[in-house]
Amino acid sequence: MRQPTAVESRGVDEILAVHELRRSFGGVRALTGCSFGVERGSITALIGPNGAGKTTLANVVAGASRPQSGQVVFDGRDVTGRPSHEVALGGLIRTFQISREYPAMTVLENLMVSPQRQAGEKLSTVLFHPRRFRSEERRHLERAVEVLAEFGLYEKRNDYARNLSGGQKRLLELARAVMADPKMLVIDEPMAGINPALIERLADHIIRLRDARGTTFLMVEHNLDVVERMCDKVVVMAVGQTLATGTMAELRGNAAVVSAYLTGGVVDVRAQG
């Protein structure tokens, strides 16, 4: 395992740092040396034209896909190429681009799966020491009910998750992630395809979680209005690289960023980034 290098140098407390990530699928080069950092406690947006490699980056960071080279440092640990569940146990939870609830389980159950390192997840405990996990179950249940209430899903707790509306599924996704008590959430297009009122509501939840629990967010997002309203920092990606980072106001004046959005990123990113 390599030591975290070239990462601590920027002076801010970075919970996540990716360095020169490369990943290609056959001939398609999805990531071509992507580097940036995410400050602890921030809401950072990851924007860029279609095909810029945002989802691939989320996959690589969360361990769902292995980079061919480069480094991912999360919370001071090198997690490059570690399997998903290990990254998740370290405190980084990712959500998926489409809502992926556990359809044939109830809303409450969906939440109850999330807490990490549950004692009742070992077969020997289940069979021979049932008392050991009963109190833990009770604690998780109380917590789950509270989280459901926060997200306005309390009334739906005994419904199958597949019967929720699209918007409710998004809320469930977020609630379920909160239940895992993550240090950082990587959320892939949480606002895609939902109505403006719900966008407001989700945005409020995300800001509230950051303020109340100090959760760091990295949010892949297309809706620039939402990004401007919510996010402290923005990372712009194009053709598999980081094109620019900064606040939304700074980026509006950046010719490379504007050009990337208009042309799909076919510019000489090295010259201008």
Binding site: V113, L127, R201
Partner: protein, 275 residues
């Protein structure tokens, strides 16, 4: 009368054994979503192990009969011995029943536990469970092994009961019967496994034995049996895809909600009515 009782106890033993097979497959497929199309292999392994274990004291037949026989022949005179051998049949039935009950309790305890919930989450979405920190490989492996142990126990009982095992007699079609039992009865519910075992393994599998054999086509009846079971599976999937007794909704004891933790964000009317 004796024949009918004997027949019913034979059916009872088969019912218990098929229940155990179905519990095992339910843990694999119904809980965790593992498609195990070689159920009967593990039954045969259990049977083989039981067979080998019983060969020890140079006595053909199974261990339990050896023990029974030892006690009986040492301590009983011939007429009593005859009665005891008759009783042995019902003892095997009782033994199967007890072992089945234990398997039922274990399978249900797993289902209701945190571990069972994780298994179901993996069945629902492997990638998501993995992204939430579940070691999906280990859980699936545990489920597979646990299910196989169940099936193996069923295999041991089979061998104790029929005292003979021809590998050729346990093939794809026997695996198919267990699968059919689980699908017809209902996946993810052990009561479904019991109902399915009764309907498929006992009722269908046995009822077709009374069809008259046709001398020109000796294998016709068994083929008809498979076709009937296949038809039953199709009908179930068509009209009642969750099975006769589907998976039950998880119930939690109600936790009173503290009012201050109600959603802090003001809910716009549009969203509240469903979006």
């Amino acid at each position: 009368m004796g024949i009918i009782l004997g027949y019913i106890s034979t059916l009872g033993v088969y019912f218990c054994i098929y229940n155990i097979f179905a519990f095992g497959l339910n843990i694999q497929f119904g809980y965790t979503g593992i498609l195990d199309f070689t159920v009967i292999t593990f039954m045969a392994m259990g049977g083989y192990m039981a067979g080998v274990a019983s060969l020890g004291p140079e006595q053909p037949g199974s261990g339990i009969y050896y023990v029974l026989g030892l006690i009986a022949s040492r301590r009983l005179r011939s007429d009593y011995l005859a009665i005891v051998t008759l009783a042995a049949g019902s003892i095997v039935l009782g033994l199967c029943g007890v072992i089945m009950a234990i398997c039922w309790l274990v399978a249900n305890r797993i289902y209701r536990s945190t571990f069972g919930r994780t298994m179901r989450a993996i069945r629902e979405d492997l990638d998501v469970a993995e992204a939430y920190g579940k070691h999906t490989f280990r859980v699936r492996m545990t489920a597979m092994v646990t299910g196989c142990i169940f099936v193996g126990i069923g295999g041991v009982l089979t061998i104790w009961f029929i005292t003979a095992l021809a590998p050729a007699g346990w093939g794809t079609s026997e695996t198919f019967v267990v699968w059919a039992a689980l699908i017809v009865g209902g996946c993810g519910n052990n009561l479904g496994a019991v109902v399915g075992s009764f309907l498929v393994a006992v009722l269908f599998n046995e009822a077709t034995r009374f069809l008259p054999a046709i001398p020109a086509f000796p294998s016709l009846v068994s083929e008809i049996r498979n076709m009937c079971i296949g038809g039953l599976v199709i009908l179930t999937l068509w009209f009642r895809p969750q099975g006769v007794v589907g998976e039950r909704k998880a119930r939690f004891f109600e936790v009173p909600l503290r009012t201050e933790s109600r959603e802090q964000v003001r809910v716009p009317a549009v969203v509240a009515s469903g979006s």
